[in-house]
Structure formats: C-alpha cells, structure tokens
Subunit: 222 residues, 2 copies
DNA sequence: TATTGTTATTAGGTATACCTAACTATACCA
DNA sequence: TGGTATAGTTAGGTATACCTAATAACAATA
C-alpha cells in the first residue's frame, strides 16, 4: 500500500484541487459528477485514497485533500498548465483544444522534464487561460481578481482568467473576444438572475450568469 | 472488440516493430523478454492483438504485424522519436534519458499535436540517436548504413545511428565520444568473436561485438 | 418523531493486464 | 524414431478501476 499514484488516482486529486478552489463542498456525488463516474466508483476510490493518506473523508460532509494530497495535486495542476503553455507557445495549438491535450500530458511529465519545460518557457506564471501555475513547491499565487458575476454596474477591469476550459465555452468566449488581458466594463446587471451586459472592445455583450461566473476580472480604479 | 489501442497494446506493437526491423524471429519468448514480461502474459495479449487484426501468430514460428498493425506501430515510433527530438532540442534533456521519457510521451500525442510538433521541430528525419523517424504515412526511409560489427578492417565511415537506447549503453558511448556524425575507422577485427578496434577522434577503442552491433556507420569511399 | 428525498455504501459483475505453476506441443538431434 | 530441451498454452490468481442494482445512512422538514 505504498505511494502508487496512478493516472486514475491523479484524476481524483486534480478534481479535488479544483473543486476545493471553488470552495464547494466536495461530496462523493459532486466528485462523481465532475469526473463523470458513478458514485459507487468514487466511494471505492476514495477508500483507496484515504488508505494512501492523500485525502480524508467524512460521509455526507466531504472529501478533503491532506497536505500530502494537496502537494501531489498542485504538482499535477502545475504540469497541466505548463503543458498548456507548451502546446500554445511552442506548438501553436488552438486555445480551445489546449485543455484536453494537456489532460494527457500532465501524467507523463517527470520532475526533471517539468523543470526543463518551465525553464524553456521562461517560468510562466499562468496558463494560456490566465490560471496560475502553482510553484514547484506547491504554493499558488494569491489572486485579487474577482468573478464578473459579482461585480457592480459601471465597474471596469481587465480580464485575467477563465476558469471553465470546456472547448465550447472557450470557443464562445473567443468569438466575443473575451479573453485574458481584454478590458471590460460592466454596463448593467439585470435583476433576478438576468444577464450581465458588458462592454468590451467597443461592443456590448449580454452574458448569462453561468458564463460571467467563469470570467475573472482585475478591477481597475474607476 | 473494436479498435481499442491501449497503452499496453501499444507497447507490444512497438516491440514487434523494432524486433522485426532487426529481422529476428519474433516468438512469444523473444517478445516476452523484450517487454520484460512472462511468456504466459504474452500469449494472452497476442490473442487479443490477433482478435483486433493487428498481428498474426503461428506458434513456434512467430508473431507478425499486419498492415494495420504496422501502420499503428510506425505512428508510435514516429511519436516516440519526435518526442525525443523535442526533449533534446527544446528542453535540453540529456542524451541517455531521452528514450525513457519519450516512452511515456508517445502514448499521449494526438494526430494534431504530432503534426504541430513535427512542424515546430522542422520536420526532422531522425531522432537524436540517429534513428529514422517514420513518415506520417508509415513509410520509413531506407538506410544505407551498416552495423560496425560487419565491417572489415581499414574501412572508414561516419556513425549515423545507435540502435540500443539503454541509458548505460548510451552513457558508455557518450564517454567514448561515439555518437552520430563522428567519423570512425576500423583498425582491426579480432578473430573468434573478439573485440573490434576502432579509431575515432584520434583515439583507439576496443569494442565488444555486442556494442559494435548497435553502432551503424555509413561507409565513406576509402 | 416520523417521513421523505438525497447521499453514500455494499455486493456482485466486467474488463484489462499482469502473475505463477502445471502442463502440452514442437523442433531437432542422436 | 525416440528423447529432450525449448517454446507455448492453460488454469487459476491478483490488482486496478470501472459498472449496476439493491440497500443503508443521513438531513431536514412536516
């Protein structure tokens, strides 16, 4: 029962890392949905992860990464995001395809290759979607950006990160030109869960809350 | 029973491709040795490969790649060698570590990434050990080089490829400076399976047959 | 407190891919 | 042709990691 972190185990750790980041309660069910598996499979794997001291689990409360688990997960996220940078910067793979390709690369990068890759890329701080690349020691840079969905009308800022990397979602945003480094201004926040009207590059767009939730903006003094 | 080429299956195809290249009879046992598995495991997998029409098998005669199998294997070798080029040229990973790292990368490279990678590397013809990178269509460039072990005394040439990529072997050769593009001259071929004395870079080295077998040289007019 | 809906687990099954040990088939030499 | 060494297969077992269906545990509310 040693430290045998297989690709399967890695998927769970990564999912937990992301779900914890959004401070959602990570119950068996949520984890199953995120990984597109059945709850029974998750129960089983969580047992294995617990035996390996990578997580702790209190039924009906949640699954939590241990220190060991978090470190392993951060390394994985680091490799994922470095892979995306490599695919984007060196191979010119399109924005919306980076995530899925990187999902495969992250499992085959050794410590040494990770170091060399980071160096070759100029030790980047973020992935092409603007999400921070954890440091080699597992620390993640604090982020002052906030989701578009929580901002008030008239506020302005610069898009810094997109936290949903599904191809269709990214294609949609790319079409509107809503990508990191683009300046946006909130025109109006419709009540009752209605759309958020933003102005970017001289045009106005009505975004659903689901969309706005995944666009992070660093506010600028207005 | 569809075309489900898993990493496990890929290892077998690649091994068969290499063993066929050396025109060795590829019996169950040889395959097992090459893959460091037990013969019983190979028997089982060969059955699966046969069902998928990737190989044909006649017991005590050999396992042979079908057209389908050979194409899949060539693609894999292509990805392996492109990975080695990437690791060497872009990340500066040392010569003797390339093979093992590439063994992992080859399984996660999609058609699209393969194309982009080849382009970014300038469509290289060989891996850093001098072995030909199969074309995207599966064809492999003919090679006029011959193994050092078959050459006669006094003949000269340029090293073009090293066909054993085990780290210790490559370290040994690197120490002697016997690498692709280096000129060598056969000084003497000791009889009864004795060593082959070669001159390279002004120094003389006595090489065992096992070693000389894996060093390919393109003879120059003497 | 009892009911109800949600969440989680257990039991039993599948597929891959490896293993050991026992057995069989073949090639080849004497 | 017969015997033996080599090669190969079968049978039964392990581990991972998924599944469905049935069951149990819990939270929250009536």
């Amino acid at each position: 029962m040693e430290t045998k972190i297989t690709a399967g185990v890695e998927e769970y750790l990564e999912a937990l890392f992301h779900l914890e980041e959004e401070n959602r309660a990570v119950q068996t069910k949520a984890l199953a949905e995120h990984l597109k598996l059945k709850p029974a499979s998750v129960t089983e794997m969580v047992k294995r992860l617990t035996a390996q001291k990578l997580v702790t689990h209190t039924p009906y409360k949640g699954v939590y990464l241990t220190e060991r688990g978090r470190t392993a997960a951060a390394a994985l996220v680091r490799r994922h995001r470095l892979s995306e940078r490599f695919l984007a910067d060196m191979l010119d793979v399109p924005w919306d395809e980076l995530h899925d390709e990187a999902c495969k690369f992250e499992h085959v990068i050794s410590d040494k290759v990770e170091r060399k890759l980071s160096e070759a890329l100029g030790n980047p701080a973020t992935c092409p979607h603007g999400n921070p690349i954890p440091e080699a020691d597992g620390t993640v840079a604090a982020d002052t950006a906030e989701p578009l969905v929580g901002m008030s009308a008239r506020s302005k800022g610069r898009i810094t990160r997109i936290t949903n990397e599904e191809p269709e979602f990214l294609q949609y945003l790319a079409n509107l030109g809503l990508m990191p480094d683009v300046m946006v201004e909130i025109e109006e926040v419709a009540p009752f869960g209605g759309p958020i009207i933003v102005k970017a590059r001289g045009a106005k767009y009505a975004l659903g809350r689901q969309v706005a939730q995944h666009i992070f903006v660093k506010p600028s003094a207005s």
